[in-house]
């Protein structure tokens, strides 16, 4: 069971990140571009679920970061390493524990949290191994998802959640409000947050308000461990 869930998660990661090859000079996906803007030049970055390495390649090129990646799909890893990026095959559930505390300035988990087996543990690990963590995920409280389920009685499928219920890798979906509640519960501080509309454009909404939880299709959160470093 675990193996099939993992292989499902990899297909999600690969699909989600397949917008640009690491060598390409094209546009970075909107949410990745916003994440990239949050990262200081020359910092040490770990990108978990790095897909084809688009973000890492961009950061190496534009911000001279010392980047590392973790990716589940073999094709993704091979593409990254073949392009000179430092990437290991692994996943967020299994491979974070080996890293020492504070090993990175920034740990990025983009569009992957909902596909992990133990998201709570993963978030704790993120803020342990990174001085800051940047997490992005699809908001299950988005009004189209709510109304879709209400009106059709069917599990929602959108461009953010592209798989039908029987083959989705997304086993732990949550709303923005759920995520903030989890952070509060485990003592993780939300330093900054950006909510995105259907077109990936940022809203200026209070992420703790009900409106953000209704209108945003995705959220990006910058987290810090309570202890700080």
């Amino acid at each position: 069971m675990a193996a099939s869930a993992e292989s499902a998660a990899l297909s999600f990661g690969a699909a989600a990140r397949a917008t640009m090859g690491p060598g390409a000079a094209g546009e970075l996906r909107q949410d990745l571009r916003l994440i990239a803007e949050m990262i200081e030049p020359r910092s040490r970055v770990l990108d978990i679920g790095c897909g084809d390495g688009a973000l890492l390649a961009y950061l190496a090129r534009q911000k001279s970061v010392d980047g590392r990646g973790i990716e589940l799909s073999q094709s993704g890893v091979n593409a990254c390493v073949g392009h000179g990026l430092s990437v290991i095959q692994g996943d967020a559930d299994r491979d974070l524990e080996a890293y020492p505390a504070g090993a990175f300035d920034v740990v990025v988990l983009s569009q992957t949290l909902q596909a992990t087996h133990r998201p709570r543990r993963v978030v704790e690990e993120l803020v342990r191994i990174g001085r800051r963590a940047i997490v992005s995920f699809p908001n299950f409280g988005f009004w189209r998802i709510r109304f879709g389920l209400l009106l059709t009685g069917r599990m929602p499928v959108s461009h953010c959640l592209a798989h039908p219920w029987y083959e989705t890798p997304n086993i732990h979906l949550c709303t923005i409000r759920d995520f903030i509640a989890l952070c509060d519960e485990i003592g993780v501080r939300v330093d900054r947050s950006v909510t995105l509309d259907r077109h990936g454009q940022p809203y200026s909404l209070d992420p703790r308000g009900s409106l953000a939880n209704l209108l945003a299709e995705q959220g990006i959160f910058v987290l810090c461990g309570s202890g700080g470093l």
């Binding site: 010392d66 590392r68 073999q74 890893v77 091979n78 990254c80 390493v81 073949g82 392009h83 000179g84 990026l85 430092s86 990437v87 290991i88 095959q89 692994g90 491979d95 080996a98 890293y99 020492p100 090993a103």
Partner: protein, 390 residues
């Protein structure tokens, strides 16, 4: 076993093999406590060392490999064991890099091993040769690089036992290793692998021609034992899928089974061939010593019991590679190295290549392996200031 060649002891004097030999006069302190020497290191080089001496790659061979990584073997005439990888424009591009491939200490292709003459007795060393370790092999290689005036290697690369040497290099001489590529390796030899080696050694020692190890002195050669050792080991280098793909249950030059113990099946004939050709080029006592060195390898034990300790503070860039169907050095062994490197906050890449070729995959044409290596080395070369490939 009647197809095996007749015993043909080889004396040192008739060897006139291509390549270089470095005589080492000062004794080398071995792990077993013995100061060993003088001895010789036989090695091959490919390509040209650049003026900065920054483009050197050390190629470490596996258990039954040798320094002829990209030349025809002087005894068998077969192509070098890594010719698929080494050459102009290939992954290990000899127009760009300077490659050094030494025969390991204890080997039988020119570097001093148990078949050589012990100056104290005037007889071949045989079992009075000291037991050597992977670390001893690496120490000897370091002497060679010092002799060549290479302080810092661009890369150390090798598969199987070669991977063990790569890891030992990275742990023992971290400042001399810019990039490390252990392929199909492990940080320690597993119980199962020690068990397989013991079968091989017992096969050799059970051959009456082994003569307590003194076969060269008495003019014999334990070809049957060595061939059986090779046959057993060869199975572990393949995979069930690969054996099935190559041979299935196909019969060898016959339409029906013969109700006897001749090689009815193609797979039997293949293994017998593997055994009989191996004894032409390899020394039985070398096989005992080198398998022992692999058995003793445990990098964590050398560093206070934690593998991460072996890599503490390392600035080398690592690329760990395993193969899905390798059951001799399976992927979890490589993953353990990756986790230790992560714990040491090292710069590490890790790729598992999907193939049904088993452990042998590192010696075969594996396009994904080549592509990964090429990308990794190009990335490292840029960081090293060696520029982009032409």
């Amino acid at each position: 076993m009647s197809t095996l060649i007749s015993p043909r002891p080889r004396s040192r004097s008739d060897q006139d093999w291509p390549g270089y030999v470095l005589p080492v006069r000062a004794p080398l302190r071995l792990d077993c406590g013995i100061d060993f020497g003088p001895f010789t290191i036989a090695y091959q080089t490919y390509g040209t060392l650049n003026p900065d001496r920054s483009n050197a790659i050390l190629v470490c061979h596996a258990l039954t490999g040798d320094q002829y990584a990209a030349d025809p073997h002087p005894l068998t005439g077969k192509p070098g064991w890594w010719e698929t990888l080494i050459g102009p424009g290939r992954v290990l591009d000899i127009e760009r890099y300077f490659l050094i491939c030494p025969n390991v200490l204890g080997g039988c292709m020119g570097t001093t091993g148990p078949q050589d003459i012990d100056p104290a007795s005037g007889e071949p060393w045989a079992l009075s040769f000291p037991v050597i370790t992977i670390r001893d092999m690496v120490r000897a290689q370091k002497l060679l690089l010092d002799h060549l005036g290479i302080e810092s290697l661009f890369c150390v690369i090798g598969g199987s036992m070669g991977a063990m040497q790569v890891l030992e290099w990275a742990a023992s001489y971290p400042d001399s290793v810019f990039a490390a590529v252990p392929i199909a390796g492990a940080a320690r030899h597993s119980a199962q692998n020690i068990a397989f080696h013991e079968v091989g050694r017992q096969a050799i020692m059970a051959d009456p021609d082994w003569s307590g190890g003194r076969y060269l002195s008495v003019g014999r050669k334990p070809v049957r034992g060595l061939a059986v050792a090779r046959m057993a080991a060869h199975i572990t280098y393949l995979s069930e899928a690969a054996l099935h793909r190559k041979f299935g249950r196909n019969l060898q030059d016959r339409l029906a089974v013969t109700y006897g113990f001749d090689a009815d099946f193609q797979v039997e004939s293949y293994l017998r061939h593997q055994g009989s050709t191996f004894v032409d080029r390899f020394d039985a006592n070398s096989y005992l010593y080198i398998t022992r060195a692999m058995d003793y390898f445990d990098l964590a034990a050398e560093h206070g019991g934690t593998l991460a300790g072996a890599f503490e503070g390392t600035r080398s860039r690592f690329c760990i590679i395993s193969f899905t169907s390798d059951w001799l050095f399976p992927t979890p062994e490589s993953r353990q190295i990756v986790h230790a490197l992560n714990a040491a906050a090292a710069n590490v890449s890790f790729v598992e290549i999907a193939t049904d070729n088993g452990h042998d995959a590192f010696l075969l044409h594996e396009p994904e392996l080549f592509e990964t290596l090429r990308g990794f080395l190009n990335g490292c070369a840029e960081h090293r200031g060696l520029g982009r490939p032409r």
